[in-house]
């Protein structure tokens, strides 16, 4: 019977591979907001990231295929609205085999965690990523407190 030990050994190996596989699956499921694995973002609202850098907030949004004329950004106080549209037309004289990207239009609004100095907001668009830099209003900034 022990001659077959290799077989058993191999089976354990296979089970480990399987277990790793499931672990990986799990790690994808458990990621916050990361459930859209593979086919994702079919509702076509752009995904965004936001970080707080102390004196300013930064929002980055995925807006592939949109030029700056297609985007529309509005801010009022701590309310931010990003809107955009994209037209995808089949090029002249081509047959369509597959069309997943599609024309889209969206608006997404955010309540920012602090008041923004609207005058100093900067927006840039690079390789399909919209970056908004939103300096916090003076009153909302972190203040250094000196201990007496």
């Amino acid at each position: 019977m022990w001659n077959n030990w290799n077989e058993v050994d191999r089976m354990f190996g296979a089970m480990n591979v399987l277990r790793n596989h499931f672990n990986n699956l799990n790690s994808d499921f458990e990621r916050p907001l990361g459930v859209n694995f593979g086919w994702r973002n079919m509702d076509r609202t752009p995904l965004t990231n936001m970080v707080d850098n102390g004196d300013h907030l930064q929002i980055v949004a995925e807006v592939p295929g949109m030029s700056k004329d297609d985007l529309n950004i509005k801010i009022q106080g701590n309310y931010l609205e990003i809107g955009g549209k994209r037209e995808v037309k089949a090029p002249e004289g081509y047959r369509v085999h597959r069309s997943e990207r599609g024309a889209t239009s969206f608006t997404r609004s955010f309540t920012l965690p602090s008041e923004i100095n609207v005058e100093k907001v900067e927006a840039s668009l690079e390789s399909g990523m919209l970056t908004l830099t939103l300096p916090k209003a003076e009153a909302a900034r972190a203040k250094q407190i000196t201990i007496n």
């Binding site: 790793n20 936001m50 707080d52």
Partner: protein, 129 residues
């Protein structure tokens, strides 16, 4: 007993994936065709030109691109992260592999896959006798 030890050592040496894997995302694509070429467009926001990799190998076209995210600061919410866009397609053998052209603009990757001469439709002229 010896055999049990064997199991134990085997368990320890099983490769464990330590490195955090980059998430693999299938980009959305449009595929068009005319007489001269296949045209593929894929949404790959945030990818730099040098991080795109296009390979045609034995009838399979593989597009892969890595998107890096540099974010410092205190994250309030993160909906996307570093990712590898990857997708494979079957393409006819008649693609002229050496003439494939790729462009990247506004986060959209455009691939021109020209058909080789022999695969293009030919107009046959009727000769007057």
């Amino acid at each position: 007993m010896n055999e049990q030890n064997q199991v134990a050592t085997r368990e320890q040496t099983t490769p464990v994936q330590t490195a955090k894997r980059m998430r693999v995302v299938a980009p959305l694509v449009d595929i068009y065709e005319n007489e001269d070429e296949l045209l593929l467009q894929a949404d790959v926001p945030g990818v730099a030109k040098e991080d795109v990799n296009v390979r045609v190998d034995n009838g399979t076209l593989t597009v892969s691109a890595t998107r890096r995210v540099n974010g410092d600061g205190n994250a309030q919410w993160l909906e996307f992260g570093e990712a590898e866009y990857r997708r494979s397609f079957s393409v006819p053998q008649t693609i002229a592999v050496d003439k494939v052209r790729a462009e990247l603009k506004d986060g959209v990757l455009t691939l021109h896959l020209p058909k080789s001469e022999s695969a293009k439709p030919k107009q046959i002229e009727i000769k007057a006798v």
